[in-house]
Symmetry: C2
Subunit: 316 residues, 2 copies
């Protein structure tokens, strides 16, 4: 039983699956529990809710070490506690793989829920939390690097949960957590709101740590069939992580122009009327495209060699 | 977003797994969705809550027919609607098997939640809904029978959801839904409450339909390695289904003596002080035993041949 003082409850369910969202040779049980909690809690925060409770359904092979499962439960509970939530239930079952389904519950504390559909032309687009760090960390792991702080950000994303209710209180018109990548997730807002999101490339310059990670040599064993494609320049690869990397679980929101934003919210673009006029080469080729989000007024195209790091590894 | 007018929310998460809780050659998608909903909704009702919402996490192989998944969603939504709840969210993922994790949310409407720990000596034990029907239906399916109404009760259990809040309003001291079997589930209440539950065998006599099902010849192919054990008599097998069969998701509760119970609540026993003095042969042999529940003052022992129907098939 969980308090729901608002008289309404918001709820979300997400899978976390071995081999896709985590690898047991890279993630400890606590890492996987932390990440499962973060995915769910960030989704609640992005509605403007205060996370209150988590439920964990854990399916695992019979040979999963009990210490790993116990470590997972501790990681989940610790990250829930960081967001102010409690683990209030769960179930376990046998399966051929480790699979978690996490349900998160949150309280709106009298605020309206922030939806994806409320962005209006004239709004600013702002983000709280890092962009591209989890993708860079995954690329480093895949390249055989160990110990880089970016890897820690991949294994244990640290969403700024409090920024969600804060944005709701400030009048955010739409909000989402960056799980699939900034362009993809802002695309959900753009389509739901019927607007164009124009990102300012000058405000999205990758930091030195991302450019350094992008300059890391890729060991031969991680090159996939597409290895002949020359990799992008480090700056371009790093920008690709910022724009298209997922799993940071930072919060992206739109606010009425002139809203005084706390320092952790960085303005990165503007909401405009209309939809992207040009379609990207990806869209013409039938590949996923970024919807109604442009960068400096132009559709963004993935650099050649994009994702050459990550072939065959977990992805957002 | 879901209304939580009480200001508290109760929540529960359960797996439903292909090969253990259902088989796709026996259950349609709608059957599986119905059963997944019933498991979760009955658990909420057993707390005395009005079910309000369900979230479905569905993992499935890529070759799962989309019509099966759509049928599952319809079955889930239809059974949720029967209980007064809405499907409010979900997630999907790929896996090697069909696996559902269902989270149910409920509202207490101002009542105290009914726990497992409140049974007191002197209380009566009562049940609402059928006992042993789902187990008999599974046995018939396994024996190759098709079309028997008991099979329908296995594929689509119909928990008496309204009986849960009704029992709470009547002052039920403890309650549980019968998912693992009457003895096992009342054992949870007995242990949590520190009491002895004594069931009255005269009030648990199996109906004719169960005895007829128990007399159904078992085809050779379903006999497992233990086939040489002679099967129990039909009456004894049917009583075993009543006492130990799971998945009916009927509600079992304890009430203060003298509580005027509506007709759907049948008194089946009494709560007494102490714990079962004798341990069963199963317990002495290290096998699971039934805790502090006795039948006519005596520990109940599974008949020889118990479960001979069900070897290698889904079980509760």
């Amino acid at each position: 039983m969980l308090a729901a003082p608002d008289g309404r409850v918001v709820a979300t369910t997400d899978f976390l699956i071995e081999g896709r969202h985590f690898r047991r040779d890279w993630s400890s049980g606590a890492d996987a529990g932390h990440k499962a909690a973060a995915r769910s809690l960030a989704d609640l925060a992005a509605m403007g809710a205060d996370p209150t409770g988590l439920l964990l359904a854990l399916a695992a092979p019979p040979d999963l070490p009990v210490t790993w499962a116990a470590s997972l439960a501790r990681g989940l509970a610790a990250e829930a506690a960081r967001a102010g939530a409690a683990v209030i239930g769960g179930d376990t079952a046998r399966a051929d793989m480790v699979l978690l389904a996490v349900t998160g519950l949150g309280d709106l504390a009298g605020r309206d829920p922030v939806l994806r559909s409320g962005a209006k032309p004239g709004d600013v687009v702002a983000v709280a939390g890092p962009l591209g760090h989890a993708a860079a960390g995954l690329a480093l792991l895949t390249a055989g690097v160990r110990g880089d702080p970016l890897i820690g950000e991949h294994l244990r994303p640290m969403p700024p949960y409090g920024a969600g209710p804060e944005a709701a209180a400030l009048g955010a018109t739409a909000m989402i957590d960056v799980s699939d990548g900034l362009l993809a997730d802002l695309g959900h807002i753009a389509r739901a709101s019927g607007v164009l999101v124009d990102l300012d490339p000058d405000r999205l310059r990758p930091g030195e740590e991302l450019i350094a990670a992008a300059a890391t040599p890729v060991s031969g064993r991680t090159r996939g069939p597409q290895a002949p494609v020359p990799p992008a320049s480090p700056a371009r690869q790093a920008l690709a992580w910022v724009l298209a990397g997922g799993e940071d679980h930072s919060l992206a929101a739109t606010f009425p122009a002139g809203t005084r934003l706390p320092a952790r919210w960085r303005i990165i673009g503007a909401v405009k009327e209309g939809t992207a006029k040009a379609r990207t080469a990806d869209a013409r080729a039938g590949r996923p495209e970024n919807g109604d989000v442009v960068v400096g007024g132009q559709p963004w195209e993935q650099p050649p060699g994009w994702d050459h790091f990550a072939a065959g590894t977990p992805s957002g």
